[in-house]
């Protein structure tokens, strides 16, 4: 049985006459077993693997994709339902929705071996077909892996967007791009809408391990459809809600309204894990000595009987004071994550500037990134940055763009730029 806690980190003191409140809310789920569950949770699980079989996948890529899909199927525990879709300009359900067991896996392997590469790329049909499969098992924890090697050239972006809007909320999807001919932004657009991750697998041989690890991670999730519900008082504006750990993800645009003062943010299925959110609210100023509740953040889950449950709550407060010593302190967590969010942003801006040929902007932005990464101890990002820029002095953000950067290195920095590091909890 998973239990949730929610904890607020903030400096609640505001100078008289102001109303901007920033807080980090850490939501932690505990109780689910760390390893993959032996059997499915009460609500059941469904896994769908979507493999791009467009012509460009020919050769080592499709061979590796088949191997990886088989490895994934073998990692799926008995009792979980699964299916495999091969996608080109349409979507073929190569392995129909079935319950995992020795016989069904064996049969699935045979069918997967027969997947050949030919045709175009129309991702909307892949997503729509997957959604139809998931709909057959309502209430289950739905997860998909989508593998592609290229652009979604077979359709207009607007068509993909409509399909994406239609399938949002019906399943979570982790996206992977093999090789370097695909577009990070395109896959990221899909993965963020479908509450999943995006990453590059430069070498086809590495696909099997990556697929297995994604399946294992999905199997550890035991609580479906966890929502962050944010109440703000009359007259207040919810400026933004961003997930800031383990990855930066601005949720603000994806809110759904519950009532005039309350909005929900879908966060997908959870295993035993912890995620941090940065909530920023502006409230009408109160009088010195007064206090106002700036936001109430609740973690809402759906019970087996379909009823909503509030699993944890955190309060974000505003207290007005004329004591400068109190109101000018920056909460450590808020400062840290503001820096991490800026880090992700300047990397994206720097890489975009570089692709556009604007070396000057790229140098400034990526220099700032190097500075932030070093200051926050984000070693993983520092390492990825080093492949794209030569860092002369991280403290001042002095860098030089490298020539002849490998596309894979640039795409790795791009996809992983949103990964953050945490700060210690002690104030």
């Amino acid at each position: 049985m998973t239990s949730f806690t929610a904890e607020t980190f903030q400096n609640e003191f505001l100078p008289a006459g102001t109303g901007e409140v920033d807080a980090i809310v850490t939501v932690t789920a505990t109780g689910a077993p760390a390893q993959a569950v032996a059997g499915p949770p009460a609500t059941g699980r469904t896994e769908v693997i979507i493999v791009d079989r467009s012509g460009s996948m020919g050769g080592s890529r499709i061979a590796a994709a088949r191997k990886a899909t088989i490895a994934a199927v073998e990692s799926i525990p008995d009792g979980t339902h699964f299916a495999v879709i091969a996608g080109d300009h349409a979507a073929e359900v190569v392995v129909g929705l079935t319950e995992a067991g020795p016989a069904s896996r064996a049969q699935a392997k045979q069918r997967i071996q027969r997947i050949q590469a030919e045709g175009g790329t129309v991702m909307s049909s892949w997503l729509t077909t997957a959604a139809t499969l998931f709909d057959r098992r309502p209430g289950a924890i739905n997860h998909a892996i989508l593998l592609t090697d290229g652009r979604n050239e077979g359709e207009e972006r607007s068509v993909l967007d409509s399909a994406l809007a239609a399938v949002t909320g019906r399943f979570q999807c982790d996206c992977r791009g093999v090789g370097t001919n695909w577009v990070v932004d395109e896959l990221r657009h899909i993965s963020t809408a479908l509450l999943g991750t995006v990453d590059i697998v430069a070498q086809p041989a590495d696909l099997a391990a990556d697929f297995t690890s994604m399946i294992n991670a999905a199997m550890r999730r035991t609580t479906a459809d966890v929502r962050l519900r944010v109440w703000t008082p009359a007259g207040a504006t919810l400026s933004f809600v961003k997930q800031v750990a383990p990855q930066v993800d601005d949720l603000t645009g994806r809110r759904t309204e519950v009532n005039a003062r309350t909005v929900d943010f879908a966060t997908g299925a959870w295993s035993a894990e912890s995620r941090d959110y940065h909530v920023s609210v502006t409230v009408p100023p109160g009088e010195v000595g007064g206090e106002r509740l700036a936001a109430r953040v609740s973690v809402v889950t759906t019970g087996g009987d379909g009823d909503e449950q509030v699993a944890a709550q955190a309060l974000i407060r505003a207290v007005w004071t004329d004591d400068d010593a109190l109101s000018t302190q920056l909460n450590r967590q808020v400062a840290h994550y503001t820096g991490q969010a800026e880090l992700a942003q300047v990397i994206a801006e720097g890489l975009a500037a570089r692709s556009a040929g604007d070396d000057r902007t790229a140098t400034v932005k990526l220099g700032r990134a190097a500075q932030l990464a070093a200051a926050s101890g984000n070693a993983a990002t520092s390492e990825l940055l080093e492949k794209v820029v030569e860092v002369e002095d991280a403290a001042t953000g002095t860098v030089r763009l490298r020539r002849g950067v490998q596309a894979a290195d640039e795409m790795a920095l791009d996809t992983r730029s949103t990964r953050t590091v945490r700060v210690g909890k002690r104030d």
């Binding site: 007064g290 509740l293 955190a314 104030d427």
Partner: protein, 431 residues
């Protein structure tokens, strides 16, 4: 003659011991030969001789769990609650979850005393008891759930905030009051501090009226917990004193035990920051003697109905010691170090000894105990006395008087937590 031994643990004890040094068992005072503890007249002047610190009991007196202060939340960060999943309607995301029991919640009156029928006033109406009873009962300054907000659109939720405009209407856990026969106490978090790290209690038993006030040191961790455990420990001992035990000895034991209880809190602090608090306690006995124990800068004053009022305690603070050493009082109080404590309860208090004293008084009067959240606005004794007498004239009982004093401090800015306890002494009974 065989060495006297403790009835409980059989360890040797000294004839003058009132408590076994090994196991803490209360020993029957041997006939009339109990050594009289040092008597010290407390006068508001410099240079009190400090009595030797009585031997500490070897085991900490267990705290009965009676709450003597508000529910504490850590400063600077709010701990959210992990709640049992509760049903809410899909459309209303209200916080309809029972709060889990938090440390220091009221469980009821203090431990049963050996003396007949004491009255004890502890904690506050409006505090939730463990077991999930919803906080109820209005207490002044604390809104009860459902109370209407001035904005006209909403009502107080379980946390005390208006569910429409979010304004804090008051939270029962940061203000509390207590009453006993001849005593009253009011505590308030003030206007600046978010949490109330003061604690206090009043009680009456066998004609003795007791008041204790402790002020948690905010710069150390778990300040509210330190204050609460000190108050609870002291009250338990004071209420449990057999009538034959000299109050001075009992008061020494009480402050000792409180010190030990606060010391113990440091064990759970990984950084070695020891929780700490001040301490002031007064026991008024029916024979017309005030017994005072204190360490730190929470104070006690004596305001006789006729006669000269005086401050019963001398602060363990930088300013007091500076004035003692000759510094101009105005400059001393203006210094940023003024309130730095030179004595407190806590594992890092070092060799500072608590002060235990007594003052025989004639005739009726008022004893005032308070934390610095009040006296800081009334540094001159004359101003302090004047304000208290004014509050007494404008109220019908001790509780009302204490509330007015708290209001006064809030009106002055309320920069700190404010706790005031009042004891009324009547004509001394002929012995």
């Amino acid at each position: 003659m065989t060495e006297p031994r403790c009835a409980q643990c059989a360890e040797p004890v000294a004839p003058t011991d009132h408590f076994c040094e090994t196991c803490g068992h209360r020993l029957t005072a041997p006939a009339a030969t109990a050594a009289a503890p040092a008597i010290e007249l407390a006068v508001p002047a410099a240079g009190n001789g400090r009595p030797a610190r009585p031997a500490a009991t070897a085991t900490a007196v267990p705290v009965s769990g009676a709450a003597v202060g508000p529910v504490a939340t850590p400063r600077g960060s709010t701990t959210g609650r992990a709640t049992e999943p509760a049903r809410v309607g899909a459309a209303t995301p209200g916080p309809a979850t029972p709060e889990p029991p938090a440390p220091g919640q009221a469980t009821g009156p203090a431990a049963e005393p050996a003396t007949p029928e004491p009255t004890t006033g502890e904690a506050s109406p409006g505090e939730a008891s463990p077991g999930g009873a919803s906080p109820g009962g209005a207490s002044p300054g604390g809104a009860s759930p459902g109370e209407a907000c001035r904005c006209g659109d909403g009502r107080a939720d379980v946390d005390g905030y208006c569910d429409s405009c979010g304004t804090l209407l008051g939270r029962a856990d940061t203000q509390f009051e207590a009453c006993a026969k001849g005593a009253a106490l009011v505590s308030d978090r003030g206007l600046v501090h978010v949490d109330n790290e003061d604690a206090g209690a009043v009680a009456e038993a066998a004609g003795r009226t007791i008041a204790v006030v402790c002020d948690g040191v905010s710069s150390a961790p778990r300040a509210a917990e330190a204050a609460r455990v000190a108050v609870a420990t002291a009250i338990e001992i004071l209420l449990g004193l057999p009538p034959t035990t000299p109050i001075q000895a009992g008061l020494s034991s009480a402050i000792e035990a409180a010190a030990d209880a606060v010391d113990v809190l440091a064990a759970a602090e990984p950084d070695g920051n020891a929780p700490a608090c001040t301490f002031v306690a007064v026991v008024a006995d029916p024979a017309g003697v005030l017994h005072i124990a204190h360490v730190g800068d929470s104070r006690a004053y004596w305001l006789p109905d006729s006669g000269e009022p005086c401050q019963l305690t001398v602060d363990d603070s930088w300013a007091t010691e500076a004035i003692d050493a000759g510094l101009d009082p105005a400059r001393a109080w203006a210094d940023s170090r003024a309130h730095a404590l030179t004595g407190w309860l806590g594992a890092d208090a070092g060799s500072v000894r608590p002060h235990v004293a007594l003052l025989p008084v004639q005739g009726p009067g008022l004893v005032v105990l308070c934390s610095d959240g009040l006296w800081n606005y009334l540094i001159e004794l004359a101003d302090f006395v004047d304000r208290v007498r004014r509050a007494a004239r404008n109220s019908t009982d001790l509780l009302g008087c204490a509330r007015l004093l708290v209001e006064f401090a809030r009106g002055q800015g309320g920069r700190d937590n404010i706790t005031v306890a009042l004891l009324r002494t009547e004509e001394a009974r002929p012995t």
